[in-house]
Amino acid sequence: MSGTRISATLVVNDDRTIACMACGHALGPAGEPWKKSARLDEGPMQGAGGAPYSNAERVLLRRFFCPGCGALLDTESALAGDPFLTDIVRV
């Protein structure tokens, strides 16, 4: 995948769009938050893994997926109602 890397899973293409590193699906303009352009699964962290996660009832695991290929682009822990974490890379 060409473009300038801005995270472990995203690049910025020559046309100044953020794109999935795996499939090239566009996720919005460079320098802007991209997460709202992704698919989101938000559920209790206790469902994230095996038995050791059973304590994590209140906290949510947010998983942001590429709408093009389903690649997992980012995760974050959050309490309900807390805003998405925003990362902006200037390239």
């Binding site: 698919r39 994230a48 095996g50 304590n55 997926f65 822990s77």
Partner: protein
């Protein structure tokens, strides 16, 4: 100065610290120092600025600089050759009262040329609870002895009145005296070795080399920052204490060759002692910054120059006196560590050149359990269970996190053998092992954490007490990176075997799992508890964060994890999408399973909805 002489002096400074650390360990008698390596020795310039950061807990490197500067201000005109000063006031420089700084001026031909400084977590500091971690304290006044600066040694002679006053306020004074002696010895060795260095090369050349070393670090660090992309990265940490849920919010901005750490929006200071002071937060983000961004740069004041910090006054990351801070090192400071690790790792991930240096969070909770009471020899025993230093590695962009693999803020931290702990406290381990399924899933899996269980054994009082400061039981504090999941949270259980026995049930004396224990397992997380009779304490620490998409993990690695007992078949199927059949990966079923999971992902709503 020629490059060879500069390089020799630089390496001699490293060796000065090495010898001082060895001396400190030889004199100290406590497990937290010798086994856990909860220590630090560093060198400072004549103005108190950091010259050469040593090993141990890295958030102390900058805080001890503030200790030196505070002593310089307080004792101006009264700093003599052979003096040693003590400060442990968190509102002056220290992280919490238990971490005592002893700072010593280094003179040459009657002129102050440098400082050495060290710390250990002393055996006791006279807080409400033995060992210093004081969950019931609601202000600094109940967290033990606290001094903004006092001269402990004058001209090479111990001030007995000062020493005796301090020892009169602590439990197990003979052990605290040994702690202080170990630090005095370390400072003495640093002073002697620095004297030998200056005798050989001359005061002015050494000072010139020290100035150049600091400038070199600044130059190299700014160059590295310029190589990294500009941007702004956010991280968020939660921790749960009794009825409170605290947030540490960090926005790290990098512009050109400067970095700003902004904690605006973090929670107001807590009623509990998990707060930290301004200088503790300042040191807190340097703990991951030094090893992640400056692994090949000397850790000194030059690294500090391009950095700014915004920490709102009255918040959990910059509390105001007299807010309690006795658990700061496992509370807000740890969250500052973790949030900074995440932001720095995201910045590294945005660079082709440096992505390989990125890591998910290691051992985010830094759980701590202190024990206290009479041991089997009727001696007063106080100390930490060093399993916390066992940690759990965060996944890197190219490798799994290391199971029970330590932690970033203390690169030399380690845990004691079971036998060492059993010889120190009247306890018996039922089991201790890496816990499967605790490492955060990912293309590269987070390191699994540790689980263990204890019962009292041969106690003259029928048991011992322990202090749990258990944030991280509800929230995963080891965040993942690049799609990796956070590590599993901690768990603490008080297993009520005594009640089970009283009810007529036969208590299993040799359980090898929590589920095999007879009594009811009560979830606990904060406070002081008894370990008496046949009751047991079960502890599971948090796993390291994962890196990347779990569906991208090579099935053969998942199979290896199953075979080594580090991942269960259930998690392999549900999270990694790897289906096993007859002890091997069923490739067709795995392909189908992963396709089905991806299809599920594509059916989720858009985040904007």
């Amino acid at each position: 100065m020629d490059a060879i002489t500069f390089s020799i002096i630089r390496h001699r400074l490293f060796r000065v610290i090495d010898e001082a650390v060895i001396t400190l360990k030889h004199v100290s008698g406590s497990a937290i120092t010798n086994e856990g390596h909860d220590l630090m020795v560093s060198l400072y310039r004549a103005d108190g600025s950091l010259l050469m950061g040593g090993v141990g807990f890295l958030h102390h490197l900058t805080s001890a600089a503030e200790a030196c500067k505070a002593v310089i201000r307080r004792f101006e005109g009264d700093i003599g050759e052979g003096d040693v000063f003590l400060t442990n006031c968190p509102y002056t420089a220290a992280l919490h009262t238990s971490d005592i700084y002893l700072v010593a001026p280094i003179h040459h031909d009657g002129r102050l040329v440098a400082w050495s400084a060290c710390f250990v977590h002393v055996y006791d500091i006279g807080a409400m609870v033995p060992g210093g971690f004081s969950p019931d304290s609601r202000d600094i006044f109940t967290e033990g002895f606290s001094s903004p600066g006092i001269k402990l040694v004058e001209g090479g002679t111990m001030r007995r009145d000062v020493m005796d006053t301090l020892l009169n306020m602590v439990r197990a004074p003979e052990m605290v005296a040994l702690d202080l002696s170990s630090m005095i010895a370390a400072n003495n060795v640093a002073r002697e070795r620095m004297g030998a260095l200056i005798d050989k090369y001359g005061a002015e050349p050494v000072d010139e080399a020290c100035a150049a070393l600091v400038d070199q670090s600044e130059t190299l660090f700014r160059k590295r920052l310029r190589e990294l992309p500009d941007g702004r990265w956010e991280a968020r940490q939660y921790f749960d204490i009794e009825d409170e849920t605290c947030r540490v919010l960090l926005a790290m901005t990098k512009e050109g060759d400067e970095l700003t750490f902004d904690f605006t929006g973090s929670s107001p200071q807590s009623h509990y002692g998990i707060n930290c002071t301004y200088w503790a937060s300042w040191g807190g983000f340097f703990a991951p910054l030094f090893p992640l961004l400056c692994y090949d740069i000397t850790w000194n004041d030059g690294v500090l120059r391009p950095i700014k910090m915004i920490a709102p006054e009255g918040s959990v990351v910059n509390c105001t006196r007299p807010a309690p801070v006795s658990l700061a090192t496992v509370g807000a400071i740890q969250s500052v560590n973790n949030a900074a690790c995440t932001c720095i790792a995201k910045m590294l991930s945005a660079s082709e050149k440096y992505a390989k240096e990125a890591t998910a969070v290691w051992h985010g909770s830094h759980f701590a359990i202190f024990m206290f009471g009479l041991n089997q020899r009727r001696q007063e025993a106080i100390g930490i269970l060093t399993e916390t230093f066992g940690g759990a590695g965060g996944a890197r962009t190219w490798a799994d996190g290391i199971d029970v693999g330590g932690e970033i803020p203390n690169p030399i931290g380690r845990m004691a053998n079971v036998e060492t702990t059993e010889a120190t406290f009247p306890v018996r381990y039922l089991f201790r092992r890496a816990r499967p399924d605790t490492g955060g899933p990912g293309r590269w899996r987070g390191g699994n954490s540790i689980e263990f269980a204890l019962v009292q054994h041969d106690s003259p009082e029928g048991g011992i007490n322990y202090v749990v400061s258990g944030k991280g039981t509800e929230f995963s504090m080891s965040e993942g990176l690049g799609g990796g999941y956070a590590g599993a949270p901690c768990a603490y259980r008080w297993v009520h075997n005594n009640e089970a026995g009283e009810a007529g049930r036969n208590v299993n004396p040799f359980p090898t799992e929590l589920d095999e224990m007879t009594g009811e397992a009560e979830t606990i997380s904060w406070g002081v508890f008894p370990l008496k009779g046949e009751d047991a304490l079960y502890v599971r620490s948090d796993g390291g964060g994962g890196f990347g998409d779990p569906l991208e993990r090579e099935p053969a690695r998942v199979q290896a994890d199953i075979e080594s007992g580090m991942v269960s078949e259930g998690v392999a199927a549900s999270v990694y999408g790897v289906v096993m059949a007859n002890g091997a990966v069923d490739e067709d079923a795995t392909r189908a399973r992963r396709e089905a999971l991806r299809a599920t992902r594509l059916a989720t709503p858009m985040a904007a909805e």
